[in-house]
Symmetry: C2
Subunit: 235 residues, 2 copies
């Protein structure tokens, strides 16, 4: 079965966590909205006259299933592709961690859109500065400190031990994204998260991920995605 | 097995979605942090020197399992207590909807905390006004319009058809919360969501929910929770 991933074709965004999982797994998939007429198909699937229309991209078509919400997609893929434990307790634990990452990603988005997603960045620049300051002072240490401690406790190189899960792939993306969006702040902060930096490097050097990152399938970071570089927010 | 729910003892917050599910199911549970020494036990569980420490409340102890993240807890409880379909496709669909509700709840929180959760409301009042305006102009119609359309499509009185799921309980809470936090705006908007208003009333009149709402177990809304009433945001 060939999976069809549907996500905005010009950004990494939330879709990237799914792309990384599919690539690491060597799964047979197509990034459907990047194909001809793919966007039209994506928009059509979100209309409610269907049984289970997703609220927003990304969503994954897997045979007859249409699965929306990033963490939900990863939950589905994880145990099927060796990217999560098979037993219920382990699946719930890894999923819980992914949901915490999802919360963090929303806060990343709020750094440049504190007044809401429907307004332009240019209309909320001063608020974005305040929110970014709070984000780095309070939220980054809290979230990344949590994962750093889990990594240390695990001792196996990955968050849950010696086997990579989709959570490790997502944490790689978090480090990548922060480095892109806030290069100065991230550089100053990285000594506090040596475990996560090591994890990032270990993920980046895995054969499938390495091949993906240097391929045209990996979209470059840009200022339409979740991680945006605005120099004024990286003071 | 008696479940132990751990959540901040003085607010509804995210814990309320779990409380409603446990109450509707008639499950044997204790709201542990509201008991003597419960807060200390809650804080202790979140320390990383344990196998699966949650990032934040709410979390549920179910035997040896410690399950964090609201939607993850509901996923666990749902199929065990007749509050979600048993088949995988149905479970994933209902979970996807709950994750969309979780996204909405975070945006509710941002209406009074656009500059971040670590600052006081009083330090971000003017930004909160702007965010609340955008929330009501763009986000409420988008999110609630989605669920209203699903309800209409279902035709069965509940979002997935004729059987209540935990998503219906959560939507009840959304309507309750918006009415508390933004009474004027909600009143003016309700004619656009007759299905959700009807669903709210149907949930409220279910015997277990009715008994719960009039009991001391239901904490009153207040200005420490997710739904806060600030008259100036309800213009």
């Amino acid at each position: 079965m060939r999976y069809e991933l549907y996500y905005w074709p010009t950004i990494q965004g939330r879709g990237e966590y799914v792309r990384l999982a599919l690539e690491e797994a060597g799964a047979d998939y197509v990034d459907a909205a990047r194909k001809e007429r793919g966007m039209a198909a994506m928009m059509r699937t979100m209309e409610v006259r269907g049984r289970t229309p997703p609220f927003a991209p990304p969503f994954l078509k897997a045979g007859k299933l249409v699965i929306g919400q990033t963490a939900n997609i990863l939950f589905y893929l994880g145990s099927r592709h060796g990217l999560a434990p098979k037993a219920e307790a382990g699946r719930l634990w890894v999923h819980q961690l992914q949901l915490t990452i999802a919360d963090f990603v929303l806060e990343v988005h709020d750094t440049h859109h504190p007044l809401g997603p429907s307004l332009y960045y240019e209309d909320q620049r001063s608020e974005a500065k305040k929110r970014s300051a709070e984000f780095w002072k309070e939220r980054v240490p809290k979230f990344l400190g949590y994962f750093e401690a889990l990594l240390e406790e695990s001792g196996g190189g990955f968050v849950t031990g010696r086997r990579l899960t989709y959570v490790d792939l997502s944490l790689f993306q978090i480090v990548e994204g922060l480095r892109y969006a806030f290069p100065k702040r991230t550089k100053a902060f990285e000594h506090q998260i040596p475990g996560l930096v090591g994890l990032h490097d270990r993920v980046a050097s895995r054969p499938n991920i390495k091949a993906y990152l240097s391929s045209g399938r990996r979209i470059a970071f840009n200022e339409d995605g979740m991680f945006r570089h605005y120099a004024e927010l990286d003071a």
